[in-house]
């Protein structure tokens, strides 16, 4: 109980792992491309949570890697968000092109090499 009530880095890591697993299940099992893309966003967010939690952890550590200026995790999280924006734009662009040609949004119907 004591360990439950004192929030440490590990709690955030467990939460991140759970979100990551949810995202993986979504990517592997859903048919709708939009929801597959959203599951990828879940995975990226799980990673971000880990990065920011580790950044917090290093801020409390001594040494040249730690200290109050150890914000590398947060900077990485910002890069990941940038990447997510690019991925969403391109992914949704492909989705619209795909929908225009095939009138469907299901991943398992994208098995033709040519139409």
């Amino acid at each position: 109980m004591e360990a439950m009530l004192h929030i440490t880095t590990l709690h955030y890591l467990v939460l991140g792992a759970a979100l990551f697993l949810l995202g993986v299940i979504g990517v592997l099992t859903r048919r709708n491309v939009v929801i597959v893309l959203m599951s990828i966003e879940l995975i990226l967010n799980a990673v971000n949570l880990n990065l920011v939690a580790f950044s917090r952890y290093w801020q409390g550590m001594p040494g040249h890697l730690g200290g109050p200026g150890a914000l590398h995790g947060q900077v990485f999280a910002i890069f990941v968000i940038t990447d997510a924006a690019a991925e969403a734009a391109v992914g949704l662009g492909i989705l619209i092109a795909f929908f225009r040609n095939k009138e469907t949004v299901n991943v398992d119907e994208v098995n033709l090499l040519k139409w």
């Binding site: 439950m4 929030i7 440490t8 880095t9 590990l10 709690h11 955030y12 939460l15 792992a17 759970a18 979100l19 697993l21 949810l22 995202g23 993986v24 299940i25 990517v27 592997l28 099992t29 859903r30 048919r31 709708n32 939009v34 929801i35 893309l37 959203m38 599951s39 879940l42 967010n45 971000n48 949570l49 920011v52 939690a53 917090r56 801020q59 550590m61 001594p62 109050p68 200026g69 914000l71 947060q74 900077v75 999280a77 890069f79 968000i81 940038t82 990447d83 924006a85 690019a86 969403a88 391109v90 949704l92 662009g93 492909i94 989705l95 619209i96 225009r100 949004v105 299901n106 991943v107």
Partner: protein, 177 residues
């Protein structure tokens, strides 16, 4: 700076919101419901960033994810018709394999945890520093400063990536260029 207020309560509240939101994202039939659940998850995560003393990342999360990317998602969901999609099978044929793979991954996480913690505490708490009042300035120094700017080049590459993504999206989505 003030000490944090009721941290365990808020952590478990936000964590529960995030997990429930994540489950809803991958189980809802209707893509709009999934998107709304994902937005809830993202906002709860922004609040968790605030609890981790990372206000700038929280702000970026709100403005870019919840205000930008998710609006794009909703826009596309409304553009493509989904009446038919809601009546169809929601999961593909390999769902059993997928869940098994995810379960294996989860098992791997647990295995790593149990083998590494034998009796010792992982990530001991260091001395607490509340760096939030200068957080934005410190991140800006890491990104742009001439002396401390470790990530200046990476930042420029990120802007190039965004440019490529914009052009790619336009090329892909436009009927005739």
């Amino acid at each position: 700076m003030n000490p944090p207020v009721a941290t365990p309560f808020f952590f478990y509240l936000l964590a529960t919101t995030m997990i429930v939101g994540g489950i809803l994202v991958i189980t809802r039939k209707n893509a709009v419901h999934s998107a709304l659940a994902l937005i809830t998850t993202l906002l709860a995560q922004a609040a968790l960033y605030l609890m981790l003393y990372a206000p700038f990342v929280a702000g970026v999360q709100i403005i870019l994810y919840a205000g930008g990317i998710m609006v794009l998602f909703l826009f596309v969901i409304m553009l493509i018709s989904i009446e038919r999609a809601a009546k169809e099978r929601q999961f593909n044929k390999q769902w059993l394999v997928g869940i098994a793979a995810a379960a294996a991954l989860g098992g791997l996480f647990i295995a790593i945890y149990t083998t590494t913690t034998k009796g010792k505490t992982l990530f001991p708490e260091g001395q607490v520093s509340y760096g939030e009042s200068q957080n934005t300035q410190a991140i800006a120094a890491l990104l742009f400063d001439r002396v401390h700017g470790t990530y200046m080049f990476a930042f420029e590459i990120a802007s190039l990536l965004l440019l490529v993504a914009i052009i790619g999206a336009v090329v892909m989505a436009k009927k005739r260029i």
